[in-house]
């Protein structure tokens, strides 16, 4: 039995349990049972998805650890990291890294910092200079930790300068103004924008374009992707940002996780296609069976 099928069955069972519990409580006017008081059955469909997604990711990680080969398609933006750092080194100009404008509670910021750790390693190896202005104090602290560990891992602790990772301001456009000014004055050869961005994305990317920097951007903020695509040399679109860490490290754990993500996407895509087909056919044929199937899919997505 596949994990997906298990998930579907559990979802059905949990919702049945919730519905039954609800009916019993209503009819007998008795206080809700222990299970109903403890578990939020309204979220049972979501819980099942959580279990299935976690299981698929962990299962693939375990398989990768056992030696399964995972192939990842080339992501041009990540392939270009080494070339971009090398270019900055040759030109004797700094590298600018912007980890978004959100705090450490944002998973995009963390994804940005994982890439910073990898870029930091390459930078340390090339003995290039990297500057990281941050919009949040906690991000500054975490970025310093990540960068220091990267420099240490390649034995270049002496080259690490914590002063180049600093806090600017929490204010969105105050930060944008500072970074734009910095770009115009210092003319970095390479600019990385990896994290969550809002309206400042185009201002930063266009300024970088004007100074002739190689620009690599990545965000899961879909509304900002068109701006990065238009103005940057390479853009990591949505989930590619989360795949960056695995892609750059090539570690089995990370690669297995990536494969797990793809399995999840295939599962969600499959469910969507089947659900849409069932709903369409139910509307056309008026079949009661298909209507029940549609109802089941609605329940599955918590609608």
């Amino acid at each position: 039995m596949t994990p997906a099928l298990c998930g579907l069955m559990v979802a059905g069972l949990l919702d049945d349990a919730a519905a039954s519990a609800g009916k019993v409580a209503a009819i007998a006017n008795t206080p809700p049972g222990f299970l109903e008081r403890t578990f939020d059955f309204d979220k049972s469909a979501l819980f099942c998805w959580l279990v299935v997604i976690s299981a698929l990711v962990l299962w693939n990680i375990a398989r990768a650890r056992r030696g399964m080969k995972v192939t990842v398609r080339h992501i041009a933006g990540l392939d270009a990291v080494e070339e971009a750092v090398g270019r900055a080194t040759e030109m004797g100009r700094p590298i600018l890294f912007v980890p978004g404008i959100q705090d450490m509670d944002n998973v995009q910021t963390i994804a940005g910092l994982t890439v910073l750790a990898r870029v930091g390693k390459t930078t340390a190896e090339y003995d290039a200079q990297i500057e990281v202005p941050t919009a949040r104090s906690l991000v500054m602290t975490a970025a310093r930790e990540a960068l220091q560990a990267s420099y240490m891992s390649v034995g270049r602790t002496d080259s690490y300068n914590p002063e180049l990772v600093y806090y600017v301001t929490d204010e969105q456009f105050g930060y944008t103004a500072y970074v734009s000014g910095l770009m115009v004055r210092k003319k970095p050869a390479t600019c990385f924008y990896l994290g969550q961005f809002f309206a400042e994305s185009l201002i930063l990317a266009e300024t970088g374009n004007a100074i002739g920097a190689i620009q690599i951007a990545g965000t899961a903020e879909s509304s900002q992707l068109p701006f990065f695509v238009a103005a940057c040399d390479y853009t990591l679109i949505g989930e590619e940002l989360f795949a960056a860490s695995a892609y750059l490290s090539g570690e089995p754990d990370q690669m297995g996780g990536l494969r797990g993500q793809d399995f999840c996407k295939a599962l969600v895509g499959g469910v969507l296609v089947v659900a849409v087909a069932a709903a369409t056919l139910a509307a056309i044929t008026g079949s009661a069976a298909l209507d029940s199937a549609t109802g089941f899919f609605r329940m599955l997505v918590g609608a």
């Binding site: 309204d42 959100q102 204010e171 809002f198 004007a210 509304s223 609608a303």
Partner: protein
């Protein structure tokens, strides 16, 4: 260097100047003539208007000002129109914000719309300003179950227990309608995720309406009309809604004076039109250069 090459490498400051003129000239002309374009409401805007219009007088409406001065150009006209609409419909108005820089904007809107336009409305009875609460989406998670835990005092420091209109408010589901005017995070998406979606299909289903910036609109459209009953997208949505509200106010009181401060969004549509036309022109020019150079290259090839 050929003419096309020179044009292709044009100093971008010329483009900036063109855009400056495309926006500035209409602003000046509208400032002098006071004329605006007529607006036809799109379904998302109509949904927002109808949602508020469907509320009986005395219903409770919560307005969340989730933006800052930077995005006020797009969102302030929406905020003004929402407050005017709610006041004209005799709704009980509750204002709050999840953005630290927003309280002065909120205060200004109340003074401009309610204090100046509806002096009969009483603070604490007909409207209340709950101010800013730090914590982003965690505030929303809390108000789902206990509104007072997040907002124990109003903007002036008065305990909410002493504010008559706060008496029936225990959680977010006690509001008949919630409106968020959002410029980013935390904003519309978080209201959908933590307030509207959990209540979907239940007896406490929440009527959520939003006003968002242009870049956010495509991202938020998937939530319309199920999670959000209506949505104003960018200044265009604001202009459409403003026009509907002005029509409604004129309809209920033909003597009502619609001043320019209540036509801010409609007045911004002309600069928007000329800005867009310039963009279309620039794109066409860019493509002419592209094809011209490609042809020249093909012609010159051996």
């Amino acid at each position: 260097m050929s003419f096309l090459e020179r044009l292709d490498r044009i100093d971008r400051r010329w483009i900036f100047l063109s855009m400056g003129l495309a926006v500035a000239v209409p602003i000046i002309v509208i400032g002098i003539t006071g004329k605006t374009f007529p607006e036809v409401a799109t379904p998302t805007t109509r949904g927002a208007f109808d949602a508020i219009q469907s509320l009986p007088a005395g219903s409770r409406i919560l307005l969340s000002f989730d933006f800052d001065p930077a995005s006020a150009g797009e969102l302030q006209p929406m905020a003004t129109a929402f407050v005017r609409h709610a006041a004209a419909r005799d709704l009980d108005i509750y204002c709050m914000t999840l953005w630290a820089p927003a309280p002065p904007l909120l205060d200004e809107t109340i003074r401009k719309v309610i204090v100046a336009g509806h002096p009969d409305l009483v603070y604490g009875k007909d409207y209340v300003n709950l101010g800013f609460q730090a914590g982003n989406e965690s505030v929303l998670k809390v108000i789902c179950t206990d509104f007072r835990q997040s907002f124990s005092k109003d903007y002036r420091g008065t305990p909410v227990d002493q504010i008559p209109m706060m008496a029936p408010i225990k959680s977010a589901s006690d509001f008949d309608c919630i409106v968020t005017m959002s410029a980013g995070y935390p904003g519309c998406k978080e209201w959908v995720q933590y307030i509207a979606t959990p209540a979907l299909g239940s007896d406490d289903e929440i009527l959520l309406v939003s006003g968002v910036t242009g870049v956010q609109a495509p991202q938020m459209v998937p939530y319309w009309p199920r999670q959000m009953r209506g949505m104003l997208g960018a200044i265009k949505g604001a202009a459409e809604y403003e026009s509907l509200v002005n029509e409604f106010i004129k309809g209920s009181n033909p003597a009502a004076d619609i001043g320019p401060q209540f036509m801010e969004a409609q007045r911004r549509m002309a600069p928007q039109l000329f800005g867009h036309l310039l963009m279309v022109g620039l794109i066409i020019l860019g493509n002419c250069i592209h094809f011209g150079r490609r042809r020249a290259l093909a012609g010159g090839a051996p």
